[in-house]
């Protein structure tokens, strides 16, 4: 064993989403703004897919590798590297925000019902700001 632990990615493992679910449920701001925050989003990480069902400001359900019958509203698609760079409290330029990445990171995109994404921009911004505090790696 080396003296310095190598940080290991914990995203998008199920435990990471459970941590996000708990942090979102405890967040005072989401409690204020989340009443109408209801939509389904898919996070694509390289070839992995996870669907989050968001209901009234909370993560109601996490569906890793959903079957063919599962539908959602908005897809956030990026590489593992994109997500790891984004999911930290102080990301580098162009990785601070979903719209920043959509604008400046060619491998990242916001797809699907983008009107719905814009409609829920404030609450989505808060949810992913919470996700950034969790980070993508342990150690």
């Amino acid at each position: 064993m080396t003296s310095q632990a190598v940080s290991r990615s914990i995203f998008p493992a199920p435990g990471w989403f459970e941590a996000l679910r708990a942090a979102a449920a405890a967040d005072a701001e989401l409690a204020v703004i989340g009443r109408w925050f209801t939509l389904d989003i898919a996070l694509v990480v390289d070839r992995e897919l996870v669907v989050l069902r968001l209901r009234r400001g909370r993560i109601d359900e996490v569906l890793p590798a959903p079957d063919i019958g599962v539908a959602w509203d908005v897809t956030l698609r990026g590489t593992g590297g994109d997500w790891e760079t984004f999911l930290q409290p102080t990301p580098p330029p162009f990785y601070t925000d979903l719209l920043a990445m959509n604008s400046r990171v060619s491998s990242f995109s916001i797809e699907g019902d983008r009107r719905k994404f814009v409609r829920h921009l404030r609450a989505l911004g808060r949810l992913f700001a919470i996700a950034q505090t969790i980070g993508a790696k342990d150690g």
Partner: protein, 286 residues
Amino acid sequence: MAEFDPITGRYVYLDTGWGRSRVFFEEAGSGRPLLCLHTAGADSRQYRELLCDKEIGARWRIIAFDLPYHGRSTPPEGWWEKEYLLTTEAYTATIMAFVRALGLEQPVVLGCSMAGAIVLDLARRYPTEVGAVIGLEAASKIEGRFVDWSIQPDVNGSEMVATWTYGLMAPQSPEPSRRDVWWIYSQGGPGVYRGDTYFYSVDWDLRGREGDIDTSACPVYLLTGEYDYACTPAETAATAAAIPGARSATMEGIGHFPMTENYPRFREYLLPILQELGTDEGRSSR
């Protein structure tokens, strides 16, 4: 004992290409005029910390006004029958009308984002009336900001614009300051941010005309935050390189709203420029 800011606010009536508007401005300090122009969809509150900076106010008369349609400045009568779309002509004419109405001599004009762009037009067209310009988050051409999202009936335009612009800031900037930016943006009139970005992202295009600016008559300084993804430091550097004699720098750990999101950090970049430009005494010998 009550605590007061050193700022006083007044209204002035301006006749512009839009018609007659009652325009709010606030000021502090005394000395050479430092005219501060707010960003798209915002107002002069963005300069609160600069206006309260007593060290700068000891040598500069710091003035910030709200464009018509913004903050406490009224839109001209009949606004409800016209789509608000800011143009280069209307923007420049309004700023110069304000400069002349207040009798500002050789002001240094500081502008951010769309105002960072327009100060380059002031330097190009009014080098004898404008003493120098400082453009923040400015480049010859900005793409992608003019969209209809904020005026669609199923979108809360107030929250949408405030959140979209919130993402332009650096994560290192203090959260209360970033939230101030959000709050100011949330109070813009409907369609005003969109109308401003018509200027910033559609009408404004300095490409090929940068060399028209004579920096020996009107010095040009360009500063851009490293986290700005609407106008990147590389885009600003390219514009500065095309303006002979222009000076530029990248502000580390800052995003698109330097004077509001992290004033102490921004001040480190602003002070040397103001010292270089001097004050009343320095100007008379220039």
